[in-house]
């Protein structure tokens, strides 16, 4: 039996899981939002990683040659989306139930009207979400159940008169938490067949789309390929799915890390500091890494590693949350933007407004004053992003500066404005340095954890062989 190793990184905003095989190759990854029940968050991330692993195995069985064909690519992409929808739908069913019973327990005078409104909201968001997953790639947008539902729910609530707001929003707040914290078990095989059925119908109904040049060439290539070949793909996949679904993904060892690691239901010797895990993960992906900057939700870390990926020195931000992801959260709230919109908005700036206070308490007031003085929103945002990166740079300086190569990880690395300033300032202070920034840098901590698990954390040591260079 093959052995797999699991790393779980329980962060303050997101929980990540990575599964590696005996060669340190990543076979599965999962991510979800961290919630009140840490165990559920960790379990969901792990389950996701296991599903992901099954897909990986499926692809391997089918073989690289086949997988590279456009129709396979397209089919698998769609399949993952629809598969996600299947999971989503079960949780959605549960949420609908909870919402209804929550509202039933209300004592508002207009309770009947509220129930009616709720039902009609549910009816209208259901197809939206269905359509989002099946036809619009919603599954690949890194959005979590809570985000997806609340965005649409709130939009619907706004269509109602003001007196409905409070009860409807209250109902949602009361229902989302228990739904989220409940662990739902899925049957992989069942879910995947269900998904294939949906896809079958989808492709059958595909109309001919005119090539009007509004989309890239590959889009049409994929579309045409799938229209003509989906039956073949289905057939090929079916040959392997049962095997894959029944395969025991045996997790031989696991390691938990991250901000909430102490709360993970792991034995104490399976808990490892996120500093070590992030560094180890980043080093595994980019073996020449010597300096790692990780900006996470709760803290910022500047880490120096040696050629084995072992930490030689690290610095974390001081007590205040200034300069880490949490700060971006405050800023987003201050501007009424979502976290994902911050970076792009900041990048529209014509200049960076000087922001003095990276203190979360003071920055709010400063931002208000700046807006009041007529400063442009993107310029202020650019200033804020720059301020965060400045803080990170001084942490790096504290830990000994940037050494070649430099790897930037953590959730905040996804923010393009942050990325821009990191590049700018690293070059400015340290000259030409190879900079590794990976779109999946958020998984580095979990990857490091999984790799520690594979090395049997009791032995506590990385093997000195050259770490794998495979990208995530």
């Amino acid at each position: 039996m093959k052995k797999y190793y699991l790393g779980i990184d329980l962060g303050s905003t997101t929980s990540k899981a990575v599964i590696v095989n005996e060669n340190d190759e990543i076979v599965g990854r999962g991510i979800t939002n961290t919630r009140a029940n840490y165990k559920v968050a960790a379990d969901i991330a792990r389950e996701e990683a296991i599903y992901d692993a099954r897909f990986t195995l499926l692809q391997r069985k089918v073989g690289a040659e086949m997988i590279d064909k456009p129709e396979f690519k397209k089919y698998l992409k769609d399949l993952r989306n629809v598969f996600q929808y299947g999971q989503f739908k079960r949780r959605m069913d549960s949420l609908e139930k909870t919402l209804r019973s929550t509202v039933l327990a209300f004592t508002y005078d207009n309770k009947e009207a509220i129930i009616k409104a709720l039902n009609s909201i549910i009816e209208s968001i259901r197809p939206q979400i269905h359509n989002g997953f099946i036809n619009e790639n919603l599954g690949s947008k890194n959005q979590f159940f809570r985000d997806i539902v609340s965005e649409r729910y709130n939009a619907e609530v706004e269509k109602y008169p003001a007196e409905f707001y409070e009860p409807l929003l209250l109902a949602f707040d009361k229902s989302i938490t228990p739904t989220e914290n409940e662990m739902v078990q899925y049957n992989f095989k069942e879910l995947i067949y269900e998904s294939m059925k949906i896809l079958d119908e989808k492709y059958k109904g595909l109309a001919d789309e005119q090539e009007d040049g509004s989309k890239e060439d590959w889009y049409y290539a994929e579309l045409n390929a799938i229209k003509n070949n989906y039956k073949t793909v289905e057939h090929t996949l079916r040959q392997h799915i049962t095997d894959i679904a029944d395969e025991d993904i045996h997790i031989a060892k696991m390691v938990g890390t991250g901000y909430g690691r102490a709360l993970l239901p792991f034995p104490e010797d399976c808990i490892k500091s996120e500093i070590l895990c992030h560094a180890f993960g980043a080093h595994a992906v980019f073996p020449n890494t010597r300096t790692v900057l990780d900006i996470g939700g709760q803290d910022t870390k500047a880490i120096q590693v040696d050629r084995h990926g072992l930490v030689t020195s690290f610095h974390m931000n001081d007590r205040c949350a200034a300069g880490c992801g949490r700060y971006l959260g405050y800023i987003a709230d201050e501007f009424g933007l979502s976290l994902n919109e911050l970076g792009p908005e900041a990048n529209k700036a014509s200049k960076e407004t000087t922001i003095c206070s990276t203190c979360t308490v003071f920055a709010g007031a400063e931002v208000k004053e700046l807006l009041h003085n007529g400063e442009e929103r993107p310029n202020i945002l650019a200033g804020l992003h720059k301020a965060i990166v400045q803080r990170a740079m001084s942490l790096i300086a504290r830990s000994g500066g940037v050494k070649n190569e430099f790897t930037f990880t953590g959730g905040v690395a996804r923010n393009e404005a942050v990325l821009k300033y990191v590049k700018q300032m690293v070059r400015g202070s340290y000259g030409e340095v190879t900079m590794n920034i990976h779109t999946d840098s958020i998984f580095m901590g979990a990857l490091g954890g999984a790799m520690f698990a594979r090395r049997n954390i009791n032995a506590d040591l990385p093997v000195q062989e050259k770490a794998t260079n495979e990208t995530l």
């Binding site: 000087t354 206070s357 007031a365 400063e366 004053e369 700046l370 400045q390 001084s394 942490l395 504290r398």
Partner: protein, 398 residues
């Protein structure tokens, strides 16, 4: 004679020239010249002058220097000025400086002298321990010895002998310098609209980065202009600003206070240029002792001088009275130990004496001050509205 606006512009340029262009030029003009940088608050510049060196004040980077390296040296709960000084040092702004003097103001500046040593910046580093003993034979002698050390460092670079005559000449030049600055404050006490605080700030600060002879020429012209009845009086209250002696507020803040309805008729920004009250004996046969006693007996109250024999609250109260001020603004740099630790002493005393005040904190790099402006405005209004009421207004801001 230059126009006042020209003079002010010239001073403005000089005051915030973080490249210290004029000082470096001066050093290049003749071999054997040296530059000594000094930190706030006070440094007896006369000794540098007599030793053939140009004393240059280092007030930090203000809101004109982006801080990255400096932050790596300091925790978040330490004031801002040492960060920007380190940033300036590491970015080469002090390249032609020969040495640095760190007067004893607080633990942060004291320890900064150690960081300069550790980083090997400059050919000498001197922490100047001001005496906290005020008798001539003890503190006086000690301070004289401290100055002798600095002279020794400087003359080993300039190869110049410091004679009594040279020292007396330097003392005389700085006496004149202070006299003229005092004159500007005297004019402002009665006619604060002739020259606003922002301009006074530029004029005084320019003097900390150029040779005293040049500054004296500038001052002579400024004094000439403000003897004329220029400007238009406005309905503003008169205040004294206290507590901003080391890390300097951004100019915008200095300006904002006056814009919010106050004439600042006295202050302790750049205290060092005005530290000694009155002239120092310029004819002594022991001019170093004269300087020493000048510091011991003629110093303005300061957070860096132990004050038990001459309590600072009464001294500030007297300034308020002499200047005809309506109240006091306590402006402290965030995390400034000396200023913040003195605040309760002043404020508790002023509550009893019925002197109005407000207090706020700033940071050299913060150039937004809407809240402060509102506070100052409210303070000024409350003074105007309740002129007969002795009540104290207390607005404290974190």
């Amino acid at each position: 004679m230059k126009k006042l606006s020209e003079l002010i512009n010239e001073c403005k340029e000089l005051a915030f020239d973080l490249s210290y262009t004029r000082a470096k030029q001066w050093k290049e003009e003749k071999p054997g010249r040296a530059i000594v940088g000094y930190m706030p608050i006070y440094f007896p510049r006369e000794i540098a002058h007599a030793a053939g060196a140009l004393p240059v004040a280092i007030f930090g980077g203000g809101d004109r220097k982006q801080i990255i390296k400096g932050d790596a040296y300091y925790q978040s709960y330490i004031c801002h000025i040492p960060r920007s000084i380190i940033e300036l040092a590491l970015d080469g702004h002090f390249k032609s400086f020969d040495g640095f003097v760190f007067p004893s103001i607080c633990d942060v500046i004291r320890n900064l002298s150690g960081i300069f040593r550790q980083l090997n910046i400059g050919s000498f580093i001197k922490y100047l321990d001001f005496p906290q003993n005020f008798s001539k034979d003890i503190g006086g002698v000690f301070y004289k010895q401290e100055m002798e050390h600095i002279i020794h460092y400087l003359t080993s670079i300039t190869k110049k002998e410091v004679t009594a005559e040279a020292l007396n000449h330097s003392i005389d030049l700085y006496n004149k310098n202070r006299e003229m600055i005092d004159f500007i404050y005297k004019i402002r006490q009665d006619f604060p609209w002739r020259l606003n605080m922002e301009d006074v700030y530029y004029i005084v600060r320019a003097g900390t980065v150029i040779p005293v002879e040049e500054h004296n020429k500038l001052l002579e012209q400024v004094c000439y202009h403000i003897k004329e009845n220029i400007g238009t009086p406005q309905d503003k209250v008169k205040v004294v600003v206290s507590g901003a002696f080391c890390e300097q507020p951004a100019v915008g803040l200095i300006k904002a206070i006056e814009e919010a309805g106050c004439y600042v008729v006295d202050d302790d920004y750049q205290l060092g240029s005005r530290m000694i009250i009155g002239n120092i004996d310029a004819q002594s046969s022991d001019p170093l002792m004269a300087l020493s006693m000048g510091f011991i007996k003629q110093s303005q109250y300061s957070s860096s001088i132990y004050d038990v024999s001459n309590p600072k609250e009464y001294r500030l109260a007297k300034i308020v009275k002499d200047r005809g001020a309506d109240g006091v603004i306590f402006a402290s740099a965030s995390f400034c130990d000396p200023s913040l630790l003195d605040a309760p002493i002043f404020q508790n005393a002023f509550n009893k004496m019925g002197i109005r005040y407000i207090a706020f904190q700033y940071s050299e790099n913060i150039n937004q001050y809407k809240v402060i402006k509102e506070q100052v405005g409210a303070f000024s209004d409350s003074i105007k509205l309740w002129e007969d009421e002795p009540a104290t207004v207390q607005v404290t801001n974190k």
